[in-house]
């Protein structure tokens, strides 16, 4: 279960998609690295951050884009 309501997941989805386009393809990796560090800082819990990293790595789709 997500600790935040589904409407907020939808809003996060929209904000992320728009930010990727704003960053531009050449700089999207830098954007995501910075975002990850900022979120780790906001989360304030290294174990939860490590768990999120593991979940994101697991089942990473083949590169289609």
């Amino acid at each position: 279960m997500s600790p935040i309501p589904f409407e907020d997941i939808e809003a996060a989805y929209d904000a992320m998609a728009q930010a990727i386009d704003a960053a531009g393809e050449a700089r999207e990796v830098q954007f995501f690295s910075r975002l990850a560090l900022l979120l780790a800082h906001e989360l304030g819990d290294i174990e939860r951050f490590r768990a999120a990293i593991a979940a994101a790595l697991e089942g990473l789709p083949e590169n289609r884009s």
């Binding site: 998609a17 393809e25 999207e28 994101a56 884009s65």
Partner: protein, 562 residues
């Protein structure tokens, strides 16, 4: 389009009748002003004609074609539309032929990531959705049109010009027997997305076009799967493109597949390309038996609408007023709601029960519904056809995480059409009363249905005019009786349904001994709801208020401002 060697009407399952019009009386000098002329005898124009007939209002229904639509096109009919078809006396063949459904599945690659379950409360009369080819929708409506003595159906009658005065609209109509002028008090333009009436009046749709293109192809095959909506994201059988699959009657299956970016449309629509792509998709489903190609077409998503759905004495209904993305089945269903909305209003105005100012509420209500559709459809369209790299990557993240995590799965929800809530409408004056209720349908929303202990359904008992639901523990209270008397003076077509939790109440009331209806409406003895002719809640009162109810009724009949 159809396979080589077959004409546009050479269907594997549908026999097209060819209609020829009788000689129009106008050609022999008749110059009566018809109350209403409807341009376009598709599902929306015919529904409008049948709604007017329900109120005893005559109309002329014109269509330039000689038969029904060439393909299956809009195939999903939602529950609120079934209620409209029920109200106009046309629902029976739909129930008999259409395939009802409630569930769907979304897949990412080979794995199911989302199970769609559309709400189906036990009191509802109809399933959330029905699949039926548009030709059958048109045939069933036309059968009802042909039975009605009030509808003058004229096929092969093409409107060439429109002129309007403050008194009437004059249409120049080209028929096989010659061209004539036809006068009408009001015109309903139900002539589709490319509406010639709209163009002749110099009006334009405004809004956005989306880039993603989909091919829709119908195949006939013996394929064993329940009637469910299936969506395949990143399928092996159509790399880079989403697939949707729907079952239709007569063993027809609708395959929608997304074209890849940059794919040439002409090439994509060639029969050999269609056969190769559809063949690969069917093989991906595990279908190894033979299949026949029936029909195909292409579409892209648009959100376009008119600034005003009314232009003097002309009202735009259905695709002539708005073009909505296909995802979520809102095109046909919103068109039905447009037709029924203007139908009951114009019906009541023309039979003398309502004042003409009621017609002013058509644009705010139905254009409001379109804008609401756009907000939802934008989200589903962005998911179905991501417009940029950002949206593509976001979708890939959500879909791939959905394999193991529940939180993003709802993003794959197709957000199927829901009836619009007219809470901001001028016909919904007492929304503040909602604060007194903890549950039940809010002001402006579609009334929920209930199965009655005496048999049948609650909403079957609603009338042609306004309908009050009065909740009691036995006999109506003094205030409720006073409300009934005042309402009957305001609305000659008024009907009252008295709902009693007392099992010893007489036959004249609706028994609710188990309290199911009272709970559904969050009502206590003394509560009242007022329903509009389209079964939306005009207002509700925790404790019956005769003057507010009478004021609401007057507003719903165009006799007073808010």
């Amino acid at each position: 389009m159809r396979p080589a060697g077959r004409g546009p009407l050479d269907s594997l399952y549908f026999d097209y009748p060819i209609f020829t019009p009788e000689r129009a009386p106008e050609l022999d000098g008749a110059r009566a002003t018809h109350a209403v002329a409807i341009v376009g005898a598709g599902p929306i124009g015919m529904t409008a004609a049948l709604t007017l007939a329900r109120y005893g209002v005559r109309c002329v229904l014109l269509d330039q074609k000689e038969t029904f639509n060439d393909g299956s096109r809009a195939t999903c009919i939602a529950r609120p539309s079934m209620h409209i078809l029920d109200s106009i006396g046309a629902v029976e063949p739909f129930v008999a032929k259409a395939l009802g459904w409630q569930f769907g599945r979304s897949y990412y690659g080979d794995d199911q990531i989302f199970r769609l379950e559309m709400p189906h409360p036990p009191g509802e009369k109809y399933l959330p959705m029905y699949n039926l080819q548009q030709q059958f929708t048109e045939k069933f409506l036309h059968d009802a049109v042909a039975r009605s003595p009030l509808i003058d159906m004229r096929w092969q009658s093409d409107v060439k010009d429109v002129t309007m005065t403050s008194e009437r609209v004059t249409l120049s109509v080209a028929s096989p027997q010659g061209e004539y002028a036809l006068d009408a008090g009001f015109v309903l333009a139900a002539d589709g997305a490319r509406s010639p009436v709209r163009a002749m009046l110099g009006l334009r749709l405004k809004g956005e076009n989306y880039e993603g293109r989909y091919v829709i192809a119908d195949v006939q095959m013996d394929h064993d799967f329940p009637t469910e909506r299936r969506a395949f994201f990143e399928p092996r059988s159509n790399p880079g493109g989403t697939i949707l699959i729907h079952k239709q009657p007569d063993n027809i299956w609708r395959i929608d597949y997304q074209l890849r970016d940059g794919e040439d449309e002409q090439m994509a629509l060639r029969e050999d390309t269609i056969r190769a792509r559809v063949g690969a998709i069917l093989a991906g489903l595990g279908h190894t038996k033979p299949w026949d190609l029936e029909w195909w077409s292409v579409y892209s998503a648009n959100t376009l609408l008119l600034d005003d759905y009314r232009h003097g004495r002309v009202f735009f209904i259905g695709d002539s007023a708005h073009i909505v993305p296909i995802f979520g089945v809102r095109g046909l269903n919103n068109g039905f709601a447009d037709a029924f909305n203007i139908g009951w209003k114009l019906g009541l105005v023309l039979n003398g029960h309502a004042d003409a100012r009621l017609l002013d509420s058509y644009t705010p209500e139905r254009r409001g519904a379109t804008l609401d559709v756009f907000a939802n459809a934008k989200k589903s369209t962005r998911f179905m056809t991501p417009p940029s790299r950002g949206w593509r990557l976001a979708r890939e993240a959500a879909l791939s995480l959905s394999l193991k995590h529940a939180f993003p799965r709802g993003l794959a929800n197709p957000r199927q059409m829901q009836p619009y809530t007219y809470s901001g409408s001028p016909l919904t004056p007492f929304v503040q009363n909602d604060a007194a209720f903890a549950a039940g349908p809010v002001s402006g929303s579609a009334a929920p249905n209930a199965r009655l202990a005496q048999g049948g359904f609650l909403l079957d008992r609603a009338g042609l005019g306004l309908t009050a639901l009065l909740f009691t523990a036995g006999e109506p209270e003094a205030l409720q009786i006073s409300a009934l008397e005042r309402m009957a003076r305001v609305d000659p077509l008024f009907s009252a349904l008295i709902i009693s939790t007392n099992p010893d109440s007489g036959d004249r009331v609706i028994l609710d001994a188990d309290g199911v209806i009272s709970t559904l409406y969050d009502a206590v003895p003394g509560s009242a709801y007022l329903l509009r002719p389209d079964l939306h809640v005009a207002g509700r009162w925790q404790h019956c208020d005769p003057s507010e109810m009478a004021a609401t009724a007057r507003i719903c009949l165009g006799r007073a401002d808010q």
